[in-house]
Structures are given as structure tokens and as C-alpha cells.
Chain length 236, copies 2
DNA sequence: TCAACTTTGTGCACCCGTTCACAAGTGCCT
DNA sequence: AGGCACTTGTGAACGGGTGCACAAAGTTGA
């Protein structure tokens, strides 16, 4: 139970955490699994099972104490300590990331911004001066960087990643549209805009197809007391 | 088989597609499941099963014809037609998205940029003039927008989403850190920076814990980034 | 104190996705 | 033509995640 929280659960904990902090800001002291599940967009049973992996932090007949649960989830996710992040590639996306307040607000500190372009190096973005990418190893070592964010064009991504890994970084967040190759001691997560849009396009297309084929026979359905076998929407 | 491709497969098709187009640019005519799987970062058995859902497009003893497979996957994903996208919220992130070339290169057209701030409206970003958010309904109707991208601050996201849905948009890509409520005819996918970092932090923490408790281990568990199963707002 | 009510935590059955292993199909070489 | 080497497509076993349903645990009110 303490041993190994399922990946699917870990992926949802940040969502619960956000819902809980919102509730805390609104002054809510306790919350039931039903309410919290609704706020997080999941089923209540799933939520309870997820939370049960961390321990028994709820009170039967009452619910969960918001503050306490926030602390427990934060601790489980490792957010009680400060994680240092380095952003490599300060172009369009890098600028947005550097200016993003959501980083700092959750225990992440941007340790440095790195770029290969001389015209960008020296510029101040989000309160930090952009440094040359040659400083990468130095920055990682001196600042004790844990997480590397890759926001360079695709061709440079693998190279940058290799340098991050060689310098000792064991977690990488990749925005470039390439599959990064890393040793299995390193964890990579990818954020891919194009992929997301293409998945949406797929469902959009299927929905259009359904509309065309169902629109006419929709009346036939009315004749047959078939029950709703028609799978309506595709959603979460 | 033709009926309903598994969500997990759909989430991987864009990855295969990108690997294939890269191969095509390099002049590769055919590719085996083993090679393509390596390029896409998955197992070969999984790749073959995924592709088998689209049909039998391979040749035993040879592999897959790159060009043909590109076409088939593109068609399945609905990329043979042009999808019109509207971006709402042209701040840090919206600017980056508007300037991003990866959109257009894959059959997506940015139909309009919308913002509520008078200082931003009228500005030209990525070749488009930012329009007032009041034009939302008009833009969606006139341009036949299919996909809405929400890049506003969290408090405005649900409101913007509601307007998009009311205007007829059935696919939403959400960057704001909130759970959007939509009717189940609408599909929402979420891209959440903070969540990704928090998942990395969790594994980083576990890795540190492992190093301390078992100081012999050169080997730590390696995990694969999810698919959106998306999660995604659905995630998966 | 006790009964009625609320809500958690979980055993269980089910479903989806992954992985293995191999028969069947294809090209090549002799 | 026939054997050989290679690769696809898939049946089947497996594993993890999801949702249901309910007993256990706690609260409230009389
Ligand atoms: N802009 C977006 O909205 C968006 C969306 C999804 C994905 N992406 C991806 O994110 C990445 C960055 O996108 P962008 O729009 O910011 O591109 P960009 O060209 O604006 O910025 C890239 C930056 O990386 C720097 N760079 C190049 N090589 C480098 C190296 N070896 N080391 C360090 N820095 C280097 C460049 O100088 C530049 O400043 C790309 O891979 C892109 O495909 C961008
Ligand atoms: N910047 C990042 O790297 C980043 C990363 C992850 C998530 N996000 C999220 O993306 C969203 C946008 O981030 P940002 O950094 O671009 O913020 P931003 O404040 O720079 O931009 C937000 C823009 O939305 C506009 N806006 C506000 N209300 C609106 C409304 N009702 N209709 C239309 N437009 C409206 C504002 O005028 C502003 O231009 C936020 O929710 C943020 O949490 C940003």
C-alpha cells in the first residue's frame, strides 16, 4: 500500500491537489469524495481508491479535511521540497514558460534559462538573464538542477537532452516533437501540441461521420425500442 | 476491426506518423515494424497491433511502405481535410502558439486569434490580427471553426469554453489549469504543465529515496510517459 | 444510549491494453 | 521449383485499472 502508488493514480494526484487548493482558498474546511470527485472530473469511487493508496486520511461520515489532504498529497508528490528546473531554448515557447507564474507557485524554481542564439543570450526574461547553452553543465552542477525542460527545435533536442543527462539530470520535460532516447534511469515526459490536435481531429472526424450516418436513421431508432445502444459522445 | 480504434492506439498514431514522415524525408521507402517501433519508442508487437486496427497495410517478409502508411494514418486521423482552429487568449502562451509553425504543417489552420484585452486586440501575431473576444460566435460560424484552443487565465476558461461550445465547437484543447465542464458531445483535452512537472517530481523523489535506501542500485525503474490517455481531460 | 443517516475504504468482477509466441505469407537465392 | 530467411498479423495469456456494491466506521439527533 505504502509500497508503490499506481502510475494512473500519480497522474491524477496533481488534479486533486489543484481542486483542493481552490477549495481551500474558498474557505472550505472539509470535502466529501463525491464533491471532490466532481471538482476533479472523475468518479467518486476512483477518487477514494486513489486516496486510499496514500493512507486513510478521511473520516467516515464526514469526508476529508482539505488542509490536511493538501499537505499529504503535496508530501507524496515531493512538493515539500524545492525542485530546480532549467529551461533550454528560449524561443517562442521558452519565453512563455519563463514568464509563467504557475511554476514558482508550486515548489518549482527556474534555476536558469539557456539558449544557443547570441541575440537572445543576455536578454532578461521573467527576471532571469538568458545564459549561453555552453554553461549547461556548469549550471546543472552548481545549482543542483533536477529537472530539464527542452524547448529547442526538434533537431537540437536529442543533443540537448544528452547533455542534460550527462550532467546528471534524471527528469526531462520535452516539448520538441521527437522521441528522446535516454538511459532507463532517466524519466522523460513529452508535451506534444500536434499530437493533441491530431487526436482531437480524429474524434472530430468520427463525430462528423456519425452525424451523417445517424441523422437519417435517427428516425428508425425511434421506431425500435432498442434502448440506447448508440454510443453518444466521446469524452473524458 | 474497422469498427472503433482503441483510444490508446489513436493516441500513438500521431507519433508513428511523425516517425514515418521523418523516414520519408530521409528517402526511406519501406520500414519494418521493428525499425519503426524503435523510432517511435514503443515495442514492435504493440506497433503491429496498432497498425492492424487500420487494416493490413504491411507486406510480410518486407515491412510497410512508408508513403502508403503515411497516407493511411493521415486519412484515419482525418488529416486529409483542413481543420480550422481558433485560439482564445493571446498572452504569453497564445503568442507562442500563434507563432508556432507546427500547426499549419499538419493540416491545421489558425482561423482567428481572440483576446479580451484592448491593448492586445489589433496587434498582429503570426500573421493574424487579434480580434476582440466578442467576435467569438461570429468567427466560429463564419469560418466554420472545429477546434477551440483555450489559453486564457484559469478564471476565464470555463466561460470561454461555454461560449465555444454554444457556438458549435465540439473539440477543445485546454491549457488553463482547470477542469472544464462540457456536454458529453464535446471532447476536451488538457495540456497541463504543472501536472507534468509534479509527476516528474514524484518520480525524482522516489529515485532519490531508492538511491539512499539501496546504495548499490545502478538500476532504477524506468517509466513510460503516458498517453494521454488521456488523459487527458480525459485522460488519459 | 441508541437508532438513523452519512461517507469512507475495499473486495470483487469486469474490461481494456500489453506482451508473448507462432502460424501464415512473401521475397530471394540456389 | 523448392527451401530459406524474414516479417506480418493475431490468438491467447497476462496485468493493471475501473466501477460497483457494501460492510465498517463515524456523526447526528432524540
Ligand atoms: N511555440 C509553440 O507553441 C510550440 C508548441 C508545441 C511545440 N513546440 C516545440 O517547442 C520547441 C520550441 O518551439 P519555439 O516555437 O519556441 O521555437 P523557436 O525557434 O522560437 O525557439 C527555439 C529556441 O531554441 C534555441 N536553440 C536552438 N538550438 C539550441 C541548442 N542547441 N541549445 C540551446 N538552445 C537552442 C534557439 O536559439 C531558439 O531561441 C520546438 O521543438 C517546437 O516544435 C512549440
Ligand atoms: N505561459 C505558460 O508557459 C503556461 C504554461 C502552462 C499553462 N499556462 C496556462 O495558460 C493560460 C495562459 O497563460 P499565459 O501565460 O499566456 O497568461 P497571460 O496572462 O499571459 O495571457 C492570458 C491572455 O488571456 C486574455 N484573456 C483574459 N480573459 C479573457 C477572456 N475572457 N477572453 C479572452 N481572452 C482573455 C488576457 O487578455 C491575456 O492576453 C493560463 O491559464 C496559464 O495558467 C501557461
Amino acid at each position: 500500500m505504502r509500497q508503490g502508488i499506481p502510475d494512473a493514480t500519480v497522474a491524477r494526484l496533481p488534479v486533486y491537489l489543484r481542486a483542493l487548493t481552490t477549495l481551500a482558498e474558498d474557505g472550505t474546511a472539509t470535502v466529501s469524495s463525491e464533491e471532490l470527485a466532481a471538482a476533479a472530473g472523475v468518479g467518486s469511487a476512483k477518487l477514494r481508491k486513489d486516496l486510499s493508496h496514500l493512507g486513510s486520511y478521511g473520516t467516515r461520515g464526514v469526508g476529508y479535511e482539505v488542509e490536511y489532504l493538501v499537505y499529504q498529497i503535496s508530501r507524496e508528490l515531493g512538493l515539500t521540497q524545492d525542485w530546480r528546473v532549467v529551461i533550454v531554448g528560449v524561443g517562442n515557447l521558452g519565453h512563455a514558460l519563463a514568464n509563467y507564474g504557475g511554476f514558482v507557485s508550486r515548489g518549482f524554481t527556474v534555476a536558469a534559462l539557456l539558449d544557443a542564439d547570441d541575440r537572445i543570450v543576455g536578454e532578461t526574461v521573467g527576471g532571469l538573464v538568458v545564459r549561453p547553452v555552453d554553461d549547461l553543465e556548469e549550471v546543472v552542477a552548481e545549482q543542483g538542477v533536477h529537472i530539464g525542460v527542452v524547448a529547442t527545435p526538434a533537431p537540437a533536442a536529442q543533443d540537448v537532452c544528452d547533455r542534460l543527462v550527462a550532467a546528471g539530470v534524471t527528469s526531462v520535460l520535452n516539448f520538441a516533437p521527437v522521441v528522446l532516447l535516454v538511459p532507463d534511469t532517466v524519466m522523460v515526459r513529452k508535451v506534444d501540441l500536434s499530437t493533441e490536435l491530431q487526436i482531437l481531429a480524429f474524434h472530430e472526424q468520427r463525430q462528423v461521420a456519425n452525424r451523417l450516418s445517424v441523422d437519417v436513421p435517427a428516425r428508425v431508432v425511434a421506431l425500435e425500442p432498442d434502448g440506447g445502444t448508440g454510443r453518444a459522445g466521446v469524452s473524458p
